[in-house]
């Protein structure tokens, strides 16, 4: 039975042949073909039982053509020759029907290094294995008179890009992610894990963390809103970093004068260094972007100073420099995007971050974060599933979830310590962050 569930991705030679035929058949001045294929499954559980359990096999064939200073893009989720003819014709038709305009240049060939991101074990994961994993978490919760909720997914994917200037890139990857909320009568806890190899996720370790958090987070009492010293766990730091990327790390945001980044100036505390690196295997590596440009490491904030931005072909041309390999699929009016983010670790064991705090708040994770003011890096959101009062260097009791409204740069300017370990957090859509927990001097809770 196992063979039925093994990932069914199209053979690499077949993908290459398909893309070659697309480039040969195209009558455009320039042509780009992107094939993205995935085979994934997700087991969802609630109230200590599986309630949704799904699998999907899909592909996207995306063609960009440039003809007579006009660009057209079309896509289809089929890999047949008939589909290829259809998608080429539609892309050319779109190009023909529009006025000549600014053309985003296609990149020329440049080799991207191979980075390991594949696990046969993840690709061959079965529904029975996912069910057994979920059962272990649910049984552990039930033993503690708690209820478990969450999702466990495994999947494999490949991305290939070729263009008529000679670019050809291909990358295969797998990913396993699990998240869990465990609830009691009067409170809950949260935990998640992500890995390229499903065998690196320890179900007992996850169950221990989330059950312990849920047990401690019962009967929370309100605490007065205000400015508190805080410890943010990696879950919260990861979300904060993703919002920094949305708001400010893109060259387009800077070119449109809406980014908080002021290159060369100190914008956070000296302990903060943030970079993007698609080649680091401790993240979720991706060696090239959606334009086929090899990824470069970009130092975004170095010891508190804004030092870099990420570029795609369009923003790079405007800036008179090369793309850093952070382009999104064409057509893209949103600009480049940093999706392989890292924050430098500190030197303090995570559990000792609270040591010097007289009165503060411990935050497990954020929820429903939204941008309030991008240039001032102000976000709002709620805490969720594990908010605790810290008194005299110890966690003393759970507190009701709080709303915060806070400038990220201001918060990071008051960085007092970072944990010496970091945690990988997979993004909901693509990419990931690897971050430490942080101890901040001031964080504003508004209700």
């Amino acid at each position: 039975m196992k063979s039925v569930e093994a990932a069914r991705l199209t053979d690499l030679g077949e993908v290459k042949g398909f893309m070659d035929r697309a480039l040969e058949r195209s009558t455009a001045d320039q042509t780009e073909v992107m094939v993205s294929e995935w085979d994934s499954a997700l087991t969802r559980y609630a109230n200590n039982g599986i309630h949704q359990n799904v699998a999907e096999r899909n592909v996207s064939v995306r063609v960009r053509v440039v003809k007579d200073e006009r660009t057209g893009v079309a896509s289809l989720n089929q890999m047949s020759d008939a589909a290829l003819t259809d998608v080429l014709q539609r892309a050319l038709a779109i190009a023909r029907l529009q006025p000549p305009g600014e053309v985003v240049p296609l990149p020329g060939p440049a080799p991207a290094p191979q980075v390991p991101a594949w696990s046969d074990a993840t690709a061959a994961s079965t529904p029975e294995e996912r069910a057994d994993f979920v059962r272990a978490v649910c049984v552990a919760a039930e033993r503690s008179n708690l209820k478990a909720f969450g999702a466990f997914s495994t999947g494999s994917a490949q991305l290939a890009i070729a263009n008529s200037l000679g670019v050809y890139q291909h990358h295969r990857s797998t990913q396993a992610t699990v998240n869990s909320v465990v609830m009691g009568e009067a409170g809950s806890g949260y935990g998640d894990r992500a890995a390229v190899d499903v065998r690196d996720i320890d179900k007992d370790d996850l169950a221990r963390e989330v059950i312990e958090k849920a047990r401690r987070n019962q009967d929370a009492q309100p605490v007065e809103p205000g400015v508190y010293e805080v410890v943010l766990e990696e879950y919260a730091v990861s979300e904060m970093l993703e919002f920094m990327s949305f708001m400010g790390f893109s060259a387009l945001a800077a070119q449109e004068e809406r980014s908080f980044m002021r290159l060369g100036e100190r914008i956070t505390g000296e302990a903060i260094s943030i970079w993007d690196d698609g080649l680091d295997p401790s993240g979720v590596p991706a060696p090239f972007d959606f334009e086929g440009v090899p990824k470069q490491r970009v130092d975004l904030i170095t010891r508190g100073v804004a030092t870099g931005l990420v570029y795609d072909q369009q923003t790079a041309r405007k800036a008179g420099r090369a793309s850093t390999g952070h382009g999104l699929p064409a057509p893209n009016a949103e600009g480049p995007f940093a999706v392989n983010l890292f924050m430098a670790a500190g030197t303090v064991p995570k559990e000792e971050l609270i040591a010097g705090i007289r009165r503060g708040i411990w935050v497990t994770r954020f929820w429903y974060v939204r941008i309030v003011h991008p240039k001032a890096s102000i976000i709002t959101g709620m805490t969720r599933e594990g908010t605790f009062l810290i008194e005299d260097g110890k966690i003393t009791r759970p507190v009701k979830d709080l709303r915060f409204t806070q400038s990220i740069l201001e918060a990071l300017s008051g960085t007092l310590a970072l944990s010496r370990t970091t945690k990988l957090e997979a993004s909901e859509y693509f990419g990931a962050t690897r971050v430490p927990a942080v101890h901040l001097k001031a964080f504003t809770f508004t209700s």
């Binding site: 039975m1 039925v4 569930e5 997700l42 087991t43 609630a46 109230n47 200590n48 039982g49 599986i50 309630h51 949704q52 359990n53 799904v54 999907e56 096999r57 899909n58 893009v73 079309a74 896509s75 289809l76 989720n77 089929q78 779109i94 529009q98 006025p99 305009g101 529904p127 029975e128 996912r130 069910a131 059962r135 209820k147 909720f149 999702a151 997914s153 609830m183 449109e256 004068e257 809406r258 057509p331 009016a333 929820w367 429903y368 974060v369 939204r370 941008i371 309030v372 991008p374 240039k375 102000i378 709002t380 959101g381 709620m382 969720r384 409204t405 859509y429 504003t444 508004t446 209700s447």
Partner: protein, 480 residues
């Protein structure tokens, strides 16, 4: 396609499914973006495939594939059945769907101009005209306009005998002007934020928006906001424009009345709900001015269809009646738990996703006031318009919203323009403070094409009828 559907249902029954349904869909989508006087993006996307949902031993399994052939049908059904058997190993209770559903028929969104037959040049010219009008205003740094058109052709069939076919059309467009200085960025959009205003309809929906007529105004407002006063902090009377009321309904009534959330099936992701079953017909959700309905037959609503993705016919029901919480959005499975029948709100984001309970057209019913009357009765307040930020807790109680534009209200008149306006509250307290809702003339259906829920993530297109409304004693100006 009928042969594929029949083959899938037969195979599922042979392999032991007690119930099975299959959805086959072909979806085409065209997107255009004009930015700073240039056509920045045009794309033409298509997706087709099928998904099979089975119940085996009272447990769910689902699999889908983009390959529409007999061999793949067999493989996908095998996969769905195997997944269902794995689900049965860790099951808290057997699924009960209640009475069978055997709807049959065809539904097509009423359209006057097929958006896919309208020349690309006509669409681009309209966006460029609006862009030029925004560009004529000094101080605007970024202008953007977009359009989106969707045709989703869906077939649904089940082992209970349901067989429905639908062709659903959507058309949407919007424009936005951004003004910046070294310390600030302010934007204004029309008709709504979130990129576009979208509705179920043809190109006539776009023509009715008159994008070019409003372009200059929003551009001027974006520039004026840079030098506007900060929204003051305090507890004041708040008047919201209809689009912001629509979002408030979405977040604080639509989501918490989704019965799957109430039962915990979204607990690890989208969250749960404070509107639990023991509060049904007891909770004073809002003031008597507040009546909220779910209606899948509202003209131009993105939640308008013939049948939901379980084959249940489109219908109308009350969620809140004269302020009292009276109903949920339900599916066959969740309604059964309350001894009810589904009110038809299950929708999937494509062939490759299972249906979830999603809002249809969840609307605040119009009152009898007018916006100007409401303003004239306020001594000290703030009027806010067009959403800029939105956040609410996982039980849908504690919210904070920000808007692009605001005006102070002093002694019954609009005063200064205000920027960075925010307001916050607790859902039942907020709706109970509602003392006026504008009437039918100012009531409009607002489409939201970005409603997220589920794992794997799904995006639903939903709508909300709303009119301007007034709320007393609201905390405003949270931003320092």
């Amino acid at each position: 396609m009928k042969d594929i559907a029949d083959a899938a249902l037969n195979a599922a029954q042979v392999k032991g499914a007690g119930y099975a349904d299959v959805r086959i869909s072909q979806r085409v989508q065209q997107d255009l973006v004009v930015k700073n006087g240039q056509l920045a993006a045009v794309s033409d996307d298509a997706s087709q495939g099928f998904g099979v949902r089975v119940l085996v031993d009272g447990a769910w399994g689902f699999a889908g594939s983009a390959r529409l052939d007999r061999e793949e049908v067999e493989e996908v059904v095998n996969r769905a059945v195997r997944i269902a058997r794995a689900s049965a190993r860790v099951q808290s209770q057997r699924v009960d769907l209640g009475p069978p559903v055997n709807s049959r028929g065809r539904y097509t969104t009423p359209i006057q101009r097929d958006p896919f037959a309208v020349p690309l040049s006509e669409k681009v010219e309209l966006l460029l005209r609006a862009d030029a009008a925004m560009g004529a205003v000094k101080g605007v740094t970024v202008r953007e306009g977009s359009m989106e058109f969707i045709r989703d052709s869906k077939l649904f069939a089940s082992t209970e005998g349901a067989f429905t076919e639908q062709d659903l059309y959507e058309s949407g467009a919007g424009i936005e002007a951004t003004a910046t200085n070294p310390d600030d960025v302010q934007n204004r959009s029309y008709p709504n934020s979130f990129g576009r205003h979208q509705g179920a309809g043809g190109y006539e929906y776009i023509e009715g928006l008159e994008l070019d007529r409003h372009a200059g105004r929003i551009a001027e407002e974006s520039v004026a906001l840079l030098s506007a006063a900060q929204c003051p902090s305090g507890v004041k009377t708040l008047i919201l424009d209809a689009s912001q009321v629509a979002l408030q309904v979405h977040e604080s009534c639509g989501h918490p009345t989704e019965l799957d959330r109430v039962f915990g099936t979204e607990a690890a992701y989208a969250g749960t709900s404070f509107m639990t079953p023991e509060k049904l017909n007891k909770l004073r959700y809002g003031s008597p001015a507040v009546t909220i309905t779910a209606d899948a037959m509202t003209p131009t609503g993105l939640g308008t269809f013939g049948w939901d993705d379980e084959g249940v016919p489109a219908q109308r029901s009350h969620l809140v009646k004269d302020g009292l919480f009276v109903g949920y959005l339900t599916s066959r499975e969740t309604a059964r738990v309350l001894g009810q029948e589904s009110n038809g709100t299950m929708r999937a984001d494509g062939w490759n996703r299972i249906p979830l309970i999603r809002m249809t057209n969840v609307s605040l019913q119009p009152g009898s006031a007018t916006l100007e009357e409401m303003i004239s009765e306020v001594k000290d307040g703030v009027y806010m318009e067009t959403n800029r930020s939105w956040s609410i807790d996982d039980r849908r109680l504690n919210f904070q919203f920000g808007t692009q534009l605001a005006y102070e209200i002093v002694d019954g008149r609009r005063g200064r323009i205000l920027k960075n306006a925010t307001y916050a509250g607790i859902t039942p307290e907020f709706w109970n403070s509602c003392d006026a809702v504008a009437g039918k003339d100012e009531w409009r259906v607002w489409g939201l094409a970005n409603c997220g829920k589920g794992q794997p993530p799904q995006v639903a297109h939903v709508a909300h009828g709303a009119a301007p409304a007034r709320f007393r004693n609201v905390k405003v100006g949270i931003l320092k």
